[in-house]
Amino acid sequence: MGTIKIYWALAMASMRARLQYKASFFVLVFAVTLFYAAQLASLFVVMSSFKQINGWHTGDMAFLFGLLTFSLGVTTLLFNGLQNFDALLINGEFDRTLVRPLNPLAQLMFSRFEASTVAHSVIGAAALYYGAKMSGIVWTPQKAASLPFVIVGGVLIQGGIRIFVNAVAFWTLRNAAIVHTVVFSGREFVVYPITIYNAGVRFFLTFVFPIAFINFYPAQFFLDKTGETLFHPALRSLTPAVGLLVITISLYAWKAGIDHYQSSGS
């Protein structure tokens, strides 16, 4: 219990620190909101001429986008401290986290609150709400209860990916380019249902870089896409399990990275 209080205090401190720069905070919230709103709007524009893509209608697409963006918001809230992690390694600031009686990863996670989390969450929630409404999702108790688990699973997948790519920095030192490609460009693939891609890409996004579990597979479940099965119908309910798997693997990689750091001092 005491430990949770400490991390809570860290998180609050990082939020107060971020709010010291009020203008930049609001500008960033505004700009990022605009960016994601524009992405959502362009989706609507595309859908207004296509009507549907592989059986996915406008509301389905908005719901897909909502799952992705809302879980990104929670991920940003929890894992933004890993942003520019390579810089901490290069200038030696990471040492500071090692001489405190706390977990280094947890210290980083709660060290930097970022405004964009607000933008992601607001746009994501709006897209989820209107997407569900437009698609006419019937919220059975099972579906309603599943939603939080799906969000948590999506957050674990995205957080795990961030931890994993940053663990690589323990060896390569500079990895901002890798992080940007994997973390931020990767998600563009799953703005659309992955059935639009060829078999290789579908396989990759399911089993290798499993970001399709953030939104595509659970959306199949919520939207009752019974007529369409990719690989196996069980995949639609596996998001929390995949999340746990990804985060477990990435924590091992992180541990190996810290061990390497302690032995190489780089």
Binding site: L10, R18, N91, R96, L98, V99, R100, L102, D259, Q262
Partner: protein, 335 residues
């Protein structure tokens, strides 16, 4: 309290290429060079000691400190701080030590100083009474009052160092590691920090290890001195003993009424510097060093107006050792 036994630390570094083309080539080469930063360092430090840890850049000072604080794992050998192996039990060790890296702050850059202290109170689980007590003590000695509401990024270097020192001591660590705490500070600020460190060592009984390039820090504070050269200990002993050992390095400032053409009658001394009728003299290498006898001899032979004797500073001794104009006997760690 602190124990290092035959500590070694090797780093593998990529052979850097020369020039841009070489750097490109190095990108694809797997040639590694092994650098031994710490090469068999042993020492034992007792509770309450104030030890200066000196050496030139790259001598292995920071690497040793990083091992003792749990940041690095040694390649071989072992270390214990307060009975804990720092690199195996990093978090437990962290709770018992304070660390100040002069070049970096451990405070929250964008928050007022007070909030950083509050954060550390939470992190180290300091009881409210202890916190209030320490806070009162530290802020009266370091005069922190006026800084408390200022964001850390707006502090001067000297102010920031005071706050960093306070931050490292809030949880009353048994051991304090200081890596260049006076670097970049002006004379007055340095003096304040030194006074404070002396006081903490005396009143809290904190064991302190200080790395520094400023020998005045050592002279003022450190009863004991450990000198490193290329990863090895070359001196470990009392600071005063080092000074006595090189007492022959004492300089005589002698002012003559009539400047003698030569000092042939006092062959023990050699001239270091001349300024008119004032000569700086010192014992010639290998000469016996009886101070009183030599001064008596000088006064008997020549018309001497004034004599003063200058103690060699630790600074000049250490500099001479590294410049190889003075040599230490081979060092053996005993025990």
């Amino acid at each position: 309290m602190i124990e290092a036994v035959n500590l070694k630390k090797e780093f593998r570094v990529n052979e850097p290429g020369e020039g841009t083309f070489g750097a490109l080539k190095a990108l694809f080469s797997t040639r590694k060079r092994i650098i031994r930063a710490v090469d068999g360092v042993s020492f034992a430090i007792k509770r309450g000691e104030f030890v200066g840890y000196v050496g030139e850049n790259g001598a292995g000072k920071s690497t040793t400190i990083k091992i003792l604080t749990g940041i690095l794992v040694p390649s071989s050998g072992s270390a214990r701080v307060n009975g804990i192996i720092p690199y195996e039990d990093r978090r437990r060790n962290a709770a018992n030590i304070g660390v100040v890296f002069g070049q970096r702050t451990q405070l929250w850059w964008d928050l007022p100083v007070r909030e950083s202290f509050e954060m550390l109170k939470a992190i180290y689980r300091i009881k409210p009474d202890d916190f209030a007590h320490m806070m009162k003590k530290l802020s009266s000695v370091l005069d922190l009052g006026p800084m408390m509401i200022i964001p850390v990024r707006k502090l001067s270097l000297g102010q920031r160092m005071k706050c960093d020192l306070a931050a490292s001591l809030l949880h009353r660590p048994g051991v304090l590691f200081l890596d260049e705490p006076t670097i970049g500070l002006d004379v007055l600020a340095k003096e304040n920090i030194r006074t404070f460190l002396g006081e903490i060592n005396a009143t809290e009984g904190t064991t302190i290890i200080l790395t520094t390039h400023d020998m005045n820090d050592i002279e003022r504070l450190c009863g004991r001195l450990i000198m490193l050269d290329r990863g090895r200990v070359i001196y470990d002993g009392l600071t005063n003993e080092l000074k006595q050992r090189f007492a022959r390095e004492k300089l005589f400032e002698v002012e003559f009424r009539v400047r003698p053409p030569s000092l042939a009658d006092v062959p023990e001394l050699e001239v270091v510097e001349e300024r008119g009728s004032k000569l700086s003299l010192r014992f010639r290498d290998g000469a016996g060093g009886d101070l009183a006898a030599v001064i008596g001899k000088l006064a008997a032979k020549y018309d001497v107006k004034d004599v003063s004797v200058r103690e060699p500073s630790v600074e000049s001794i250490v500099r001479s050792i590294y410049e190889k104009t003075l040599s230490l006997p081979p060092y053996r760690a005993d025990g």
